[in-house]
Symmetry: D3
Subunit: 242 residues, 6 copies
């Protein structure tokens, strides 16, 4: 099985972190192919960033892959990707939140900037996890500053507060760039800590193993062709696989 | 007051219809400036179309406008536009649905293709109108076929069914391209029929009259600047107005 | 357009404040006619007050008006007024809350007495704004004490707490008697502060401009006539306009 | 125990039906005192009727009673009555819906006019029964026509449809004037059929037996006194019992 | 009327407390028959305890009773009991929560161990009381330690905090073993305090008085017979009464 | 990895079907150990059956397993199993419903007897899937009759109706005994059809791969020990692994 993990920002070092997280949990026989978006913002920290990242992300989808993971916690472009990709597509926020629901009554999200909390709450609502989402916490570290040791202390602090103040049974890390912190935080905190990249990797694998892909019944059927095509876009490569 | 109405698809004839709808309800003293998106799909009938329309739409936002209307019923790019525009931004689905709530217990949406119904339902949920949304009905006419007389009969048929079968007190037309049908349908059906372009025009005007714009507190503050800027995008023009 | 703003309590000085708020935002060509309820409580601070205010409010509705605003944050008599008025009727709580949803992710209400918070929460639920209503805060100033400078300090304090503690993007003022504080509070706080009278004035105007009124399909059709009429009530004047 | 059942319309024959329903289920030792509202509409079939019925209903509350039932399915004036009455107050819609929840997964309401269905749905939402309310059905018989044998056939027909089409486990009768049909319908249909008057009588009795009344903490404390009193209203009699 | 109150744990002293609570509120003519579960855990403080208590509880149901109360705040086995009992069955959590809704806007639950709070929240959701449930508070006293005077102080402390911090109008005691504290706490706190055993006793009595039992339409019809019967279980006694 | 799949009824032939479904999707390296419950009902078709199945199911949990699947669509005993098992525990209804959410906007459940539909709806609510669950359909085939060819036709008919009438994008099969129908139905219908046993097998595997198990923070910590132990139960074997 060939599983494509798309980093929808253009920062290659983050793609490497994401690829490692995916590989660390993939089942035997799964090939992880991680790609960096060909164009768009260097990090995704606003609705504007998300919107500008989507065309690059969609262009990066590889029709030869059996399934796709979108490795940004805002799950940008998820519905659009489902329409145009042949295999199933999984967002890391949806996978992390749904996985958390197997492990306890409630979870908190620990994310980067407070300005992204609204999007996380909206996703929890959309994914049917709002009742279980105790709180979305921000450590106010920008995405590209996550490597900093002080950042890690800030994240740990918010995770602790999630357990003691919010009563969270489970922590969901709210950024693909935090993927490498998961095991250490689980050990430190004594509650499950979930990274969306890992969760989504397993979820996407599972869909392929179950022999299913996105339903083509109505909403997620391939988009109707346009007179004159899509200006400036390279969607042509998908035509064959529909 | 200068109110910009953005048609996020690239079909200029639809922009003309939209502009007429906006002008027909604008208050005295409001200048309607309607623009066609500079690049993107010719019509928006899928999640993919929406996603590909957003960069063009964002590029079209005019910093000199006092307020903006996004004239596509999927309300594409609404959150992103709110971050980068100086004045308030109103989507036509949110305006139509919220306006409907003043007029009766329940409404039905009559839209173009059934494949877009899921997005309309999701927006009703997001906008707090799900309890009042009786049903989303599709007449299965593509956006660019709305001019056809047969299309009008199909729309009227769905509107009638909304009243008699769904018990809808109000009809919301689910496409900016239907803006010119509103008065005739209201007369025919005997219940209020709402066009989102008109509703959003008045809502945007009202926000300016109230002296308010999008809150800049956290989520909708201008996006953090990126090292190296946004590749390939012309957001620079907004920097001054932030 | 003739827009009637009804103060459902019997305190004429509050009607003057309300009229000024309505006039300050009305579009050119809109005539604001503000009336004081002919009988009922001097202020509305309880469910009992609301109930006792409704007959006077309904009696005050002027069939010659094109639209009506009910200027009390509990939106008393709104459904009944919709049945008997020819033009659309807008409550100030519904207008303020729906307007807030255009401006940010969440709002808090700052009201007079804590005992009215339950009603505000119930209205937020009814209007589809419960998901966005961060909190209802009371400054514990009675309605007729709002002119007091100490009251203004208390209101400002609660507004500040709404921003810093509740994470509110927008403030909704929960009493028609606060209408004159709006601009000063917006300037002070740096987030949009909404007065329901102003918001409802623009919403009611907009409905008239859109050419719609309350749906007459079923629930809001004129009430069935009674054998012997309504004892002791002057509803007769409406008979003609139905 | 003295239990006051208030008929909020002015039709004495309906009060007799209501009294009989209450007496048929009251516990030994409970005295049922049924009163007809001193002023207001002869039947309650609209929001306007409800609003105009409330002052009479509030005036009819007897401070010597241990508890009160409001015998109209719209539960008019319930919150106001709770503020001013010494003992607990129960509405027949809330009692019927909450009782239904003990007896099955879902219920349907069978009411008089379709125009009242919106209010019933709103109450189901308010009372936490919306998830269980399968449908509100109307037999289109006016309140004062319920005695007609044809009316009874229409009601039975809707009840049958509730079971077979809606999958209702339980039927809730949506009008105090249907109170005498309960036993016959239960026998005919083979599922529990609930009359709100009977359900509310037992609920009110139970609250007295439990030694509790409406919480006086904040919202339902007695209304603040007004300068000059309540014009034209006889609330004075309650002052002592607060 | 013969009302069976089942203590689903095997501690007879708790059965005595429960029986006294039921008798203190029962209507004249109601015979309270309290039974201790024949097998299962000595107290119920976990999901495991609940699950292991259910077979004993079901075996204890007496077909000669007119109604049944399940006297454990987790309402264990409620759906199963409804299928196999002839008369109505009421859980103490559902009765306490629904009763609280008649008395104020919001309630808090004060329970024994924090680990049971998740179950209480889930029940509030199921019973349509989630909107009114301000918080579930734990005093961290085990069920069998409730007799301890220090336990009573801890409970009182949590009740006070529910009023002052949560804004609860009503307190619901979250354990059948607290039944004897109700009156003293109500007097101390000045807000209604509800014990589920008392509330359920009156609710079950009321259903019998109304002449109804669990709907037998589909879900709660007697379970289909099995080839070979239920191994090791004594359900045979119920066959006749179905 | 050793994954235990527990059939909570006592019918060994159904265990074989379940085991085959689990093995058909398990990742390389996963050992599937399927067990039949040692005591309880031969099939689970009622709340009573579920309740009586739980002690046997709990007794069957093998502490040597890395994870557990409960293979009955009512997810009986799930919370209790999570408290006492060392590894994660997954129910087939929760896994099937959550998996469906990755594949389309809405799903319908096709189950055996209509009497079980209420439980499926309740689970959809609990799992955050109620918004997506279009309908629960029953083919009225008892669990032990699923092998019958006529049964398969009935199931196919309901699946077709789910697509055409409910607008379901995805079908969820509502019984572990239908596990072998999945691939054929997917091929026939052209939309994804999910079997819970397969979905849960992958979900449980994934949790182990992610290195997490049920949070032990509060609710799902091992149950507090009892004075005298659990009468008649063999929980002792779990003591060591806690």
């Amino acid at each position: 099985m060939r599983l494509q993990v798309v980093n929808p920002n253009t920062t290659a070092s983050m793609t490497a972190t994401i690829a490692a997280a995916a590989r660390s949990v993939a089942a035997p026989g799964t090939e992880i192919v991680a790609v960096t978006s060909p164009h768009g913002p260097v990090s995704i920290e606003s609705h504007y960033d998300e919107a500008m990242a989507v065309p690059g992300l969609l262009a990066a989808l590889d029709p030869a892959a059996d399934a796709h993971v979108i490795a940004c916690f805002g799950d940008p472009g998820l519905d659009a990707a489902r329409e145009v990709a042949r295999g199933p597509v999984v967002g890391i926020a949806e996978a992390a939140m749904r996985t958390a629901l197997y492990l306890g009554r409630g979870f908190s999200v620990v994310t980067t900037l407070a300005r992204t909390a609204g999007r996380a709450e909206e996703l929890a609502q959309r994914y049917g996890a709002a009742h279980a989402c105790r709180r979305v916490r921000a450590c106010e570290v920008p995405v590209l500053g996550l490597e900093d040791p002080a950042a890690r202390a800030a994240i740990l602090g918010e995770c602790r507060a999630a357990v003691t103040e919010d009563g969270a049974d489970v922590i969901v890390l709210g950024c693909a760039g935090m993927a490498d912190l998961c095991a250490a935080l689980t050990a430190e905190l004594g509650v499950p800590v979930l990274d969306g990249v890992a969760a989504a990797t397993r979820a996407a694998e599972s869909l392929v193993a179950l022999g299913v892909t996105t339903s083509r019944r109505s909403e997620y059927a391939p988009p109707p062709p346009k007179p004159g095509g899509f200006p400036g876009e390279r969607r042509a490569q998908y035509t064959d696989s529909w």
